[in-house]
Amino acid sequence: MTTVAPPSAPAATPAITDATLRQIQARAKNLRRHVLHMAQVVGQGYVGQGLGISDLLAVLYFHRLRYDPQRLDWPDRDRFLLSIGHYSIGLYAALVEAGVHPASQRDTYGADGALFEMSGSELTPGFEVTGGSLGHGLGQAVGMALGMRLQGRPSWIYNLLSDGELQEGSTWEAAMSGAHYQLDRLVAFVDCNNQQADGAPRDVMRIEPVHEKWQAFGWHTQRINGNDCGAITAALAAADRTPGRPHVIILDTLMGKGVPLFERREKNHFIRVEPADWAEARRQLEEEHA
């Protein structure tokens, strides 16, 4: 098994000031606190995914996206499309942190009749589309990018996919069309956390070389450490400087990031946690320095 090195990592120079970076990182830590809170409510779940993607969501919701938490239907807003419904815990955390939903809503995560379903849908305010049935997000994002461009509106469209989702053929149909229509305000993030339901993608169905695949499809392709807020902002800045093509930012992330207890779980697609472990998890998160 050979590993393919990312051929063209963007320049490591952060496009933002240290102060801004520290603010984003503080938000990322808050998101992780929300994730742990929700996961503890149900005692199990996609806590690894939520922790792993907190850095991206902090960059998007507290640095990059043009949106109004008080006016979610603002037509010219940037849009974040979550393909991967089981990452909803992460998006709920971002929406709570942004003030779209009250913190008390966290206590309903996964509860019967609640707004915060374990795999969220667009019926929850702040969700642009319904993910969860994988392979939907990027096509919807292509449609939104086409629609906004046609109407001369300035929005950027962001879609978060998982590495396993690259096995869905519809993802590549959408990738083809995004490049065909030169949608340069479309950004796909691919979270490569190296875990899918039945194991590691290399064992389930090999998806590497991910970078070369997207490049061959005509996308402006970058591969970065997805738990590095500075690298994420730099990659987005590189997207700003690259017209004429859609952008894909492949994120190598660590599931459970920020809580070593969960980072080490071998099978961490869906974690079951003993009640006694939560206090330890929270202690580890607070000790972890961004």
Binding site: E122, V129, G135, H136, A145, L146, S170
Partner: protein
Amino acid sequence: MTTTAPPTPGVTGNILSSDTLGATNTAKAPFGTALVALGEGDPRIVGLTADLGKYTDINLFAERFPNRFFQMGMAEQNLIGTAAGLSRTGLIPFATTYCVFATRRAYDFIAIGAALGKANVKIVAGLPGLTTGYGGTHQGIEDLSLMRSIPGLVVIDPCDATEMAQATVAAAAHDGPVYLRLLRGAVPVVFDPATHRFAIGKARLVRPGTDALIIATGLMTARALESAQALAESGTSVAVLHVPTLKPFDREAVLELVARIPRVVVAENHMQSGGLASAVADCVVDHGLAVRLARIGIPDCFCESGSIPYLIRRYQMDVPSISAAVHRVLGNRP
């Protein structure tokens, strides 16, 4: 025991033609023409296809509004996904392909991508039922069944050119996802455009009668009217209820007539199960009505290829077969 007619060499017909079957009064490309007219008045109307622009008449829209038309290539999942995305920016996308590709290949995208969130997507799907001589790959024989089962999706099977055009306008005006079966090319005119009024969810008594009732949808209504005319000449009075909207289903109209005329033939350009006959049976059973019901439609099989006249005889969807079914429900000897 089914007997198959021996093949007739050289008589294959044009298997790509639409189902004009010798009709003299036809209108050309009613969907494409109606969509262009809509597009003139409403900049929100956009079009997409999956490499079937020419064969779904949406090429007319593409030629008139090239900037508002998106060719998606042979990728039906993305066709529907992209249409849903377009609708979420305030546009009204009309996406075309064939019934088989829309409903078989892109089912999850219609159900979850469009219908779950009530995205304002219009899917216009060609080659419904036996309107193509291509075989099982191209004949949309179970699309109504699949689409009827999706919550909140409007499902329409127009009869003729008049209704095709009116249903296109109604689909655009409806806020929500619509699945519209397409009749394309030179399409017979059955209903007078000056007097016919299509409305989503409304059935229409297109011929009164007292002895038996034919409930029909799509192009089968034209054959039902021919059958009723022929039966009238031999002294049998047959009503014809045209039900162009499979969902939402006009239960009141069906129940009112069935209660009065409980000898019913259901005729549809679709499998006998899962479409109109099933919808009728559902509401009849729900209301405890006792009826004698015969089904005209495709049995539980994939169909052959061949000319359309051959196919509709083969699967007993022609006018004489409808008349024979009326006699059956009336208890007449053959």
